[in-house]
Symmetry: C2
Subunit: 441 residues, 2 copies
Amino acid sequence: MERLHDLVHRHDPIAVLDLLDDRPAHEVADGLARLEPVDAGWAFRLLDKDRALEVFEELDPVHQQELLAGLRDDAVGALVEEMDPDDRARMLGEAPAKVATRVLAGLSAGERAMTAALLGYPDGSVGRVMTPETVAVPVHSSVTEALAVVRRKGADAETVYTLPVTDAGRRVLGTVSLRDLVLARPDTPVADLVDRAAPRVRAVDDGETAARLMGEANLLALLVVDSEDRLLGLLTIDDAVEILEAADTEDAARQSGAAPWSGHYMYVKVTRLARTRALWLAVLLLAAVLTVNVLQIFEDSLEQVTALALFIPLLVGTGGNAGAQAASAAVRAIAVGEVRLADLPAVVWRELRVGLLLGTLLGGLGLVVASALVGVQIATVVAVTLVAICGWAATVGATMPLLARRLGIDPAVVSAPMVTTLVDATGLLIYFSVARLLLGV
Amino acid sequence: MERLHDLVHRHDPIAVLDLLDDRPAHEVADGLARLEPVDAGWAFRLLDKDRALEVFEELDPVHQQELLAGLRDDAVGALVEEMDPDDRARMLGEAPAKVATRVLAGLSAGERAMTAALLGYPDGSVGRVMTPETVAVPVHSSVTEALAVVRRKGADAETVYTLPVTDAGRRVLGTVSLRDLVLARPDTPVADLVDRAAPRVRAVDDGETAARLMGEANLLALLVVDSEDRLLGLLTIDDAVEILEAADTEDAARQSGAAPWSGHYMYVKVTRLARTRALWLAVLLLAAVLTVNVLQIFEDSLEQVTALALFIPLLVGTGGNAGAQAASAAVRAIAVGEVRLADLPAVVWRELRVGLLLGTLLGGLGLVVASALVGVQIATVVAVTLVAICGWAATVGATMPLLARRLGIDPAVVSAPMVTTLVDATGLLIYFSVARLLLGV
């Protein structure tokens, strides 16, 4: 793909097509995304219709819009008309309203109605990413009849492996798998094969929760219904995987104290990147003023024993690290459902012990190192502080995400920087209290 | 599921079965995992054979072994014999060698051979998690013949939706989907339907890379072949999702400076949790001794202007936060393939600008706050330091994961704590250099 850039610049269509022809669509999409919009548009227009659609669906919304901007209206219409309704909704959901309206207007009535319906669901909901093009099988059919339905309607559907089974009122009774249909005797009633316990979600439900449910229950597709249990669509596993990846990316960003953003790291504007990080940095800076206040309280001790200042970064750093480890473990355990609110006391007790264990280890290490540097007196203060700080930091770090959850806040916003900043101020309190106690300063 | 505990303690089999009957297998598994081993064993033995297998496959390896320990040998044999080979291999891979040997000995020859083959592949490889039970379709068959093969062999296979197509020498030519077979005319040659560009991986390849490939290429199953392109098995999407989730959990742990561990947060021993965190904490503590050394260099300045000490935690904290944000963004961008080694100069340039932007913002904020607390002179030092530290920290934070990758180390080990500790020492250098320059101390 590195050669794509050169070939495009030489405007050599045959060599470009040669290079792109035997690559999977997602690689071609990645190659195009790394070109300037004008060049990407030129290369994209070389692809034949089916191939262009495949590649287009693999692009992220930003690049999809750039490409569309460079196409004539009829080409835009032809391309978007052929997209899967859920992919189309995702693209239009991120497009400026003016673009979305123009593209929607160019669609056939049927596709437009389907897309508008998806766009009506809230951002992040199942409805936004489900496919409405399903093959529903009437419960009172035989296997032969059901397979005939699949053959008749299957070409347009995103999946035919999980088939919703409905009654006369389009109410969902469960699912039947194409596997069971193919393996069963032709005259078997579908009613005998229905998985009536198949989980279902509402279109307004949270997409991430639904995606995790699919992972746990090993589903290829999940039923999406309305409030009266009527079929609206299916959430397919490829979309669920994308949701989970995006959610984990968001959690990773939040964990470092940055707001999540959508889009490609290399193509996001620098000012946009800065904005995702600025708020938390500023909040944390203001919170860190607390550390200045704490130190001001102990300014006398500091003037008497300047050597105490030498260990401030080491101690608050270690406390922050221990707290961040615990917070990260707790956030992840909550995200994957291993820890619930009711586990709070058990978590506190676990982490307190983990923290004190680690503190004892580090205290021993600190005693040796600090004795060599500044003598045994201050080293003792450092060692005792390490034990206390580690126990305290691990407990606070693991508790905060659970408290956030109890307050209805996403636990992932309890970032390492947030824990660190909180533990910094309290850690200094511990340090100088220990110093006063042991050194009498 | 909260009631399960009470019902089991009352030893009320009918009420327990009543409660468990209409729950999905993964919920039952989670309920059992939260009981004491003895109670879980009692409740598990109440389940009928098929249900027991379903639930058992949803348990994590630790609880699987606990349950097996409480079953008679013939019951163990019956249960494990029915497991999917890849699930069985995963369980035995984490079991003590003695247990694994005993369980393997109880299997039928065919299942034993299949499991032993999977266990022969390295931990974390595709071979460990692939399913060897596939339905291969000869390329010279018609659709009707292919469907007959599916009906004959499909019951034992983990998936029949992606069918490997092979030539006479069991060499893989590509895949055909059950969808295409069902939708095609019965006399169509399979050769016309084969997707010859279907990606394939080797059994010794890295499992996470293969799983990400499946996500990008939207595959339900991925071909696994040997060095001569002969079919070994398929990696299915449910296993790929599990691999990705586990990988993201590992990355989250590493990002906070803890070693990844397998198993459930609430059931892992406290000493084991402590061990996952101890090494990095100790290493970082020793690295933090550098901050003590730096401060010792400037001890004179500190004695002259004790007020400088007040801002040490705030400044190193802010630098650490800015660095952690950048590192986290870079680690994630590398993990999902948005950033490559060749992008290093571009990344440095991006992050330097982001950091200086943020530093200017925070410097302004710091100037106001610090002026109010300690006067404008030291406040100026603090503000200038904030600009420099943020630019430096963001650059270092984003560069380190890329350098790790260049050195062949997993970028995710570049944790927030690691960046923080590195930035701490250099940040202090910046701070006191600025102070000497501006205050002449």
